[in-house]
């Protein structure tokens, strides 16, 4: 059923699936706890009531943490009372998180204890921040309010009907100029993206959620779409334990990025000498049948490989700016080489080889970045930065990329400029170019040979590697540089003295 705001998703599903499991998660090694659709609705409404009681309704609230029940409750609680959720990447350095909290005008921060380090820094550096809520604290204290206690003290219902066209979520994505951009999404952007296409996924489908929840793909497809369909969302507590959690939760479906799919493909092929059905059972469990792939390019050969084991891969294409799905394949109409058919709420055209899309999922713009917004949107059309076309049946084909972004196999977008600026600050680095090579990020550096001479640096490679190691130390996994190339001559420049990238 098409929903135009996020609250409708939860209200409709609660009516239909009330006492059935909405979320399952581990509380000990092999012990699972679950929350029903009714509990999720009640808890999120209580969180809305808590925000109202704090006088924060309508303001911006950031959520930092791994996927968890409190994270999901906080998100629905924030957006369902007309406030704005700002999901942030829990793996970012504290300084960067504080910069985003401040830039997004956040007044409430809901924080998982795994990032306790952010709390004190945020209090110092983010003057607009008024309340800190700890997901784990049993009781509130001077440091932070307790999420549990807030819910208990503010039990109540919240019947507000959010305006579909109002901003409800700001999600940060890598900017091509190096500074991350806050994508402003409305209630309608997200709700219609999750509900406009009937993918014929039956209710009570068991979904294992393994991707980071601050990403639009996971939030929209695992959580919003999953809950709209009456799925059971099982939370994978760590990427270390995917194999164990598959055994524990016995999922039917997992949303993955190509990096994981290729790794799972090797696991399937390692188990030799058994019939395909038994191999699938051993690796994915007996009830497993579908993988949704998104975030990055998936080699088409994977579709056949998994098909041999009775597993369907549904490939999608999208970007955060489009909340995020633009096209997806459906199980009854798979076309190899295409990234699926346009969603019913989306139209597309090709302008100078670039794919432009328009529809109810296209963002409002970038938060407080009018220039970047004007560059990305034109008369309601979103310039995707991808080269491609759509055939007469609505199948989307991608042929290349116009924007200068590294899309890693785990779906993370990395701006080469951001890394070049950071590493380029070292005195020994005169010029640098960052790119992807064989699945890892490579930095090609032209060192300042004069400086090296002056400082008596003999082993320039070792010195540069040390700088890269130093940079890697503070960088999240997907921004680490794993390959170093050293040049003896300057890079070739274009007429504006910029390094030629290609």
């Amino acid at each position: 059923m098409l929903c135009s705001n996020i609250r409708q998703i939860l209200v409709n599903s609660e009516k239909q699936f009330g006492s059935e499991d909405a979320v399952r998660y581990k509380i000990a090694k092999n012990a699972i706890e679950s929350k029903s659709y009714t509990q999720l609705k009640q808890d999120s409404e209580s969180f809305s009531c808590a925000l109202k009681a704090l006088g924060e309704q309508g303001n911006h609230a950031a959520v930092i943490g791994a996927t968890s029940y409190p994270w999901i409750v906080s998100y629905f609680g924030i957006v369902n009372c007309g406030s704005v959720a700002v999901p942030l990447d829990a793996s970012l350095p504290a300084e960067e998180l504080c910069e985003l909290i401040d830039r997004a005008d956040v007044t409430v921060l809901v924080l998982d204890d795994i990032r306790k380090d952010v709390a004190s820094m945020a209090k110092e550096r983010c003057p607009k921040l008024k309340y800190l809520i700890s997901m784990q604290k049993e009781e509130s204290d001077e440091e932070a309010l307790s999420f549990r206690q807030l819910l208990e003290e503010n039990r109540g219902t919240c019947e507000d009907e959010p305006d579909p066209d109002k901003l409800c979520t700001i999600m940060f994505t890598s900017g091509t100029t190096g500074k991350s951009k806050g994508v402003m999404l409305t209630q309608r952007n997200l709700a219609e993206n999750a509900t406009c296409l009937d993918m014929k996924i039956p209710p009570r489908t068991v979904v294992l959620s393994v991707l980071p929840i601050h990403h639009a793909y996971c939030l929209s497809m695992d959580i919003l779409k999953g809950l709209s369909l009456g799925s059971v969302i099982c939370i994978n507590d760590s990427l270390i334990r995917v194999a164990k959690n598959i055994k524990l939760f016995q999922p039917n479906m997992i949303l993955m990025v190509p990096l994981m799919i290729e790794s799972m493909a090797r696991k399937l092929e390692e188990v030799s000498g058994l019939p395909a059905a038994l191999v699938k059972r051993q690796v994915f469990g007996k009830d497993f049948h579908t993988i949704c792939s998104g975030g990055a390019y998936l080699p088409p050969a994977m579709l056949d490989l998994f098909g041999r084991y009775g597993i369907t891969i549904l490939q999608g294409y999208g970007m955060t700016e489009c909340a995020p799905v633009i096209s997806t394949t459906v199980s009854w109409n798979i076309r190899k080489g295409s990234v699926g058919q346009l969603l019913p709420n989306c139209e597309a055209k090709t302008v100078d080889e670039e794919l432009w899309v328009r529809g109810s999922s296209v963002m409002l713009g970038y938060y407080k970045m009018p220039e970047e917004t004007a560059a990305a949107l034109e008369d309601g059309w979103l310039k995707t930065g991808d080269l491609g076309y759509v055939d007469e049946e609505g199948f989307v084909y991608l042929t290349g990329r116009k924007k200068n972004l590294i899309i890693t196999k785990n779906g993370e977008n990395v701006s080469p400029e951001e890394l070049e600026n950071k590493i380029g600050e070292y005195r020994l680095v005169q010029e640098i170019l960052v790119r992807e090579k064989e699945g890892v990020i490579e930095a090609e550096i032209y060192p300042d040979y004069e400086y090296a001479k002056k400082k008596h640096i003999k082993d320039i490679r070792a010195a540069l590697q040390q700088l890269i190691d130093e940079y890697n130390q503070g960088a999240p996994a997907y921004k680490k540089v794993y390959s170093l190339k050293i040049r003896e001559t300057e890079f070739e420049k274009n007429t504006s003295r910029k390094i030629k990238r290609y």
């Binding site: 760590s238 270390i240 334990r241 194999a243 990096l259 790794s263 680490k480 794993y482």
Partner: protein
């Protein structure tokens, strides 16, 4: 410990055991992807009956560091 680790590493990357050294780096030298590395940590948890914290494991770069981390976890268990 080192030999056991080498055997497990060989299940994830195509590197001959004799080319795996204590100072070999998982990503740069052995060609691990981040997801393969995480999956291997899951196998190490089972093999050595320890519980690995994902954020602690993020600091592990070399085979030697992995061995030292496992020794520490075993000693604490």
């Amino acid at each position: 410990m080192f030999e056991q680790l080498v055997n497990i590493i060989c299940n994830y990357v195509e590197v001959e055991p004799e080319n795996i050294h204590p100072e070999s780096r998982f990503m740069e030298d052995l060609g691990f992807t981040s997801f393969d590395f995480m999956s291997m940590l899951g196998e190490l948890e089972e093999e050595f009956d320890v519980e690995i914290e994902q954020h602690e494991a993020a600091d592990i770069r070399t085979v030697q560091e992995a061995a030292a981390y496992l020794e520490k976890l075993k000693a604490e268990a």
